[in-house]
Symmetry: D2
Subunit: 345 residues, 4 copies
Amino acid sequence: MLVVMQHEATQEQIEGVVTAIRNMGYEARPIPGAQRVAIGLLGNDGRVDPSRIEGLSGVTEVIQVSLPYKVVGREWRPDDTVITLPNGAKIGGGSVVVMAGPCAVESEAQLNTTAAAIAAAGATILRGGAFKPRTSPYAFQGLGLEGLKLLRAAADRHNLAVVTEAIDETSLRQVAEWADIIQIGARNMQNFTLLKAAGQTRKPVLLKRGLSATIQEWLLAAEYIAAEGNEQIILCERGLRSFDPNTRNLLDITAVPVVKQLSHLPVIVDPSHGTGRREKVLPVARAAVAVGADGLIIEVHPKPEEAMSDGPQSLTLPMFDELMIEIAKVGIAVGRPISMATVAK
Amino acid sequence: MLVVMQHEATQEQIEGVVTAIRNMGYEARPIPGAQRVAIGLLGNDGRVDPSRIEGLSGVTEVIQVSLPYKVVGREWRPDDTVITLPNGAKIGGGSVVVMAGPCAVESEAQLNTTAAAIAAAGATILRGGAFKPRTSPYAFQGLGLEGLKLLRAAADRHNLAVVTEAIDETSLRQVAEWADIIQIGARNMQNFTLLKAAGQTRKPVLLKRGLSATIQEWLLAAEYIAAEGNEQIILCERGLRSFDPNTRNLLDITAVPVVKQLSHLPVIVDPSHGTGRREKVLPVARAAVAVGADGLIIEVHPKPEEAMSDGPQSLTLPMFDELMIEIAKVGIAVGRPISMATVAK
Amino acid sequence: MLVVMQHEATQEQIEGVVTAIRNMGYEARPIPGAQRVAIGLLGNDGRVDPSRIEGLSGVTEVIQVSLPYKVVGREWRPDDTVITLPNGAKIGGGSVVVMAGPCAVESEAQLNTTAAAIAAAGATILRGGAFKPRTSPYAFQGLGLEGLKLLRAAADRHNLAVVTEAIDETSLRQVAEWADIIQIGARNMQNFTLLKAAGQTRKPVLLKRGLSATIQEWLLAAEYIAAEGNEQIILCERGLRSFDPNTRNLLDITAVPVVKQLSHLPVIVDPSHGTGRREKVLPVARAAVAVGADGLIIEVHPKPEEAMSDGPQSLTLPMFDELMIEIAKVGIAVGRPISMATVAK
Amino acid sequence: MLVVMQHEATQEQIEGVVTAIRNMGYEARPIPGAQRVAIGLLGNDGRVDPSRIEGLSGVTEVIQVSLPYKVVGREWRPDDTVITLPNGAKIGGGSVVVMAGPCAVESEAQLNTTAAAIAAAGATILRGGAFKPRTSPYAFQGLGLEGLKLLRAAADRHNLAVVTEAIDETSLRQVAEWADIIQIGARNMQNFTLLKAAGQTRKPVLLKRGLSATIQEWLLAAEYIAAEGNEQIILCERGLRSFDPNTRNLLDITAVPVVKQLSHLPVIVDPSHGTGRREKVLPVARAAVAVGADGLIIEVHPKPEEAMSDGPQSLTLPMFDELMIEIAKVGIAVGRPISMATVAK
């Protein structure tokens, strides 16, 4: 960490910073410059809170040189994290996993049709919302526990794993019981109590990036989970808030290689929320595989025009079949094969 | 609600939309145009979920004409909501209330010094974080219940009300017991479980705007609270995520008159988080009073250079004294007097 | 166009809007609703200025239903525009073209080495800035006309076409004389005088998207060029302004399929500016080809560490060789072959 | 400037950076750290181009410690710039100046009515667009030179100065001849050729902030003008691009005190473009005066419902009268009186 002093900082102010750093248990090294003094903090273990220093008299800026996340950072653990699910599917480590299913769990028939179709097409993980965070209090909020049971049953019938969202501590306990992966949604990326609770389970966690979260904030959110002892974390880029009404969100495709350089965690992409329009899902899914994503999460519905939510971005079953074929070609081209259901068995 | 059909939509697709609208219990009225057909949905009571329609075949766009929030909207309740606290302070209705105190509760001495000073300067509400949502898991997370008790004691000694943040259901119960206003932070603006829980208390709720929330999303978050029966809601603009590192956040001053036109709820401004720099707090506080805000929430610390968090944006006690004098002048100029402690007694 | 009236609009205000629309030469059709009246404007030929209507008494909102660009829109011209350059290279129509070269023209040796290498690797167009728009007045501003001549000579030696930026009317005349494609940079996307001047030449124009331009504004900027009679326009996505310092810009990969649906113009991607870091160029270039881009523009420098500008995002020559091989594989996987130099001859 | 080396940088890479800095004529001072080495560049005169260093092998980041603008920065010139216009109006130095008039010059009658009214209300500068930069090529583009002459005549009749926009070199020459202040619009903030041309005139320049420009980019754009010898520059905050459709732009009120700390140039606010809605102009104008702006620029039209552009954000003449009275009260409250027409005479 580097503390830049003001142009006109006094010797007393400089010594104040040096003393403060030493009182925190670190070494301080002043660096005189032509126009101003800077003070290096040595021995930073990632636990230094810069706002303790920023408020000191004479300080103009505090610059972080070390990265503030340790457990999820690649600096201290170079090898990719690979997560293995009960059905044999693997996330991370060079292949591409596909999660698919409806936005919301609506009925047994809907789920069974979808699960059969996605398994046949090669997906290994069934998605579907039982607890729905909705912008309006008057929108459909999900089937809850009943939805979880429907997901589990449909998935088991086709050797699929289950990923579904938890929105609070109560639903988290239920999701941890019935599903294989606990999803934390974009709106809850900095719900720190929920992150800690997810960190105390022993189930893999899918952590979506917040609507306007920096990559550092996202990795620090993952660090909250990891700091509780659960390092099975999958990051998911799902698009950022944008000024342009042409797309629902602004998918940050570059986040994939950026995160993979900074962290050993697997990163997947959600082209359904990232674009908001079904005809954009295929091209963006191809791009996600090409850029190096470890997986995709895709909204699929047997009858999108009857979907209770997100109909416009849901693929039909034939469109999903086509998508699986198309991304398989791209996966081969970039040396990242799609891990198909048969592989997972 | 208006459903715009695609240029080349067939008669069958148009009838599909008409039928879907009627099945939802509303009236549908097709409007032929030169280039495309639009279909009006009549009788919208704010409970129509547009995504049910967006997914239908042949639909290009669904345009919301009515506003989707009802209880917090001004359309059906023209008069300003005024909230009265146990110490007599009033929020809304033409005067300006000031909440002040440290970012984090650190000690009894810190709080007592601060409470005495802000009360003497005319503030009526003490703020201070006992539960701190922090970006890093390694940063100071607050004193918890002990902090709440210290806040209550310091406030009571000076006839101040207490506002403090709840970050989950557990802390919410404690905050509801010890404080006068429950604060929901920006990162939790769409933590719908927390919003519902706050709506089930009978304490006023201070709802901060999310880092990249639209005004409509913010009012819908308030609607979540109101839909549970608690209409004592105070909105707080605290700055949006920005691309410019010169300020911590980008304060949206125009949000104040925009929200006051759309809603009857009081709106306050947080110039401390909104700017992130103490020397910007006074000018922006003046601007907030001038623009018509119903109050301010200001970070104050007896020794900002020793603050455990947010030191750089905390005012010293003499700076706060000066701020109270300066905003009082602006309040008189715009016909919105500051409600001083003496008024509250 | 649909004019939504206020809830409480009077009959007189409604008639005022109807009269105004008729005076502009269009047909007006009032649509009564349960809560408010809307008025349809029929016969919109894309030349209706909505701000003429927005200011009328009683109007709450004007909604554009038709798209405001006509010549560049796909609605009236479904077939892709294909541009053929003097060296035989084609842009648009199903293959992928590669433009490469240094950020700035620095010397004859630099250009010759680069041109030889990119031609050998299969690129067909040489890029390089002779006129540089720089944020600081003290930064290197380019070699000007001398740079154009160096570009032309190096390109001709290797059967390459030349693309280079014009920053004002004077440089535009020179670029139009010496280059094959006139580049308009992101900062000049709404420099309407420059757009009109480019529209009056008969050279293809590469129009970069502005730092925070909506897709509609970008297509309207293209419409400025097209309205002057020059329809040989190539659009280039190069990343948007972002709040996250981890990347220089936020590349909007979804813009490619969005634009290709709305317009018949070819769209290329600039992964060098889009990411700002050379190690991110290869993955994002793969993604761009996978998503359906008609081409790439890539910064390459024989010695990036000596580059006068944009060194950190420039590929070395061996990295560029590898990129061409890798994107060729992706191009085959998505059915969009890279148009190689040999094809162009 | 501080060059941060990668964790694993070799001694050879460190020496490469040291040599490069020395070759540029500056002093290099390596600073060993616990985890990585940093290298200070001493003697930076603001002309060091960081991208020359960022591309060097082993470099992870280059941190600017000094500010890159010199002539417009307050660091080297602490006193406020005050600009005096031919009619006696002063901009900067503690009072608040008001510029007002229609978005576009439409007719002699329109201008005369407006000029008489704003002068009577106390404004000292007439605004009005003769050259209009419009998003669509089919929108009204302004009366050009004829409009300039109408502005001059109307202004002279009421002892007003004239501010109007130049959009290219041709219109700049005409504006410099007929007006008192040359306006550079937001879309042209980084049209460097236009900035240099404005810097070569001896007329004051009003420089609007770009739609997504950082404050540093804005001040560097001003530095372009100043570097040509024209230091009579007025900065104008007019709102940033936003994701929220509720306002046309997102006015950055905090930019006023931020810029005034960094620069000695006067800063004014445009609440008309900043909000896009006439009923928001008065509250935001009050806020701008309260925050310390040196002036306002306001759109006024005798009949906004007939305005050729920007009708929805134009004040009527009686609304402008009220605004002048209201901001005068705020000006007194913050010790920044409005400079009225009578003062200017």
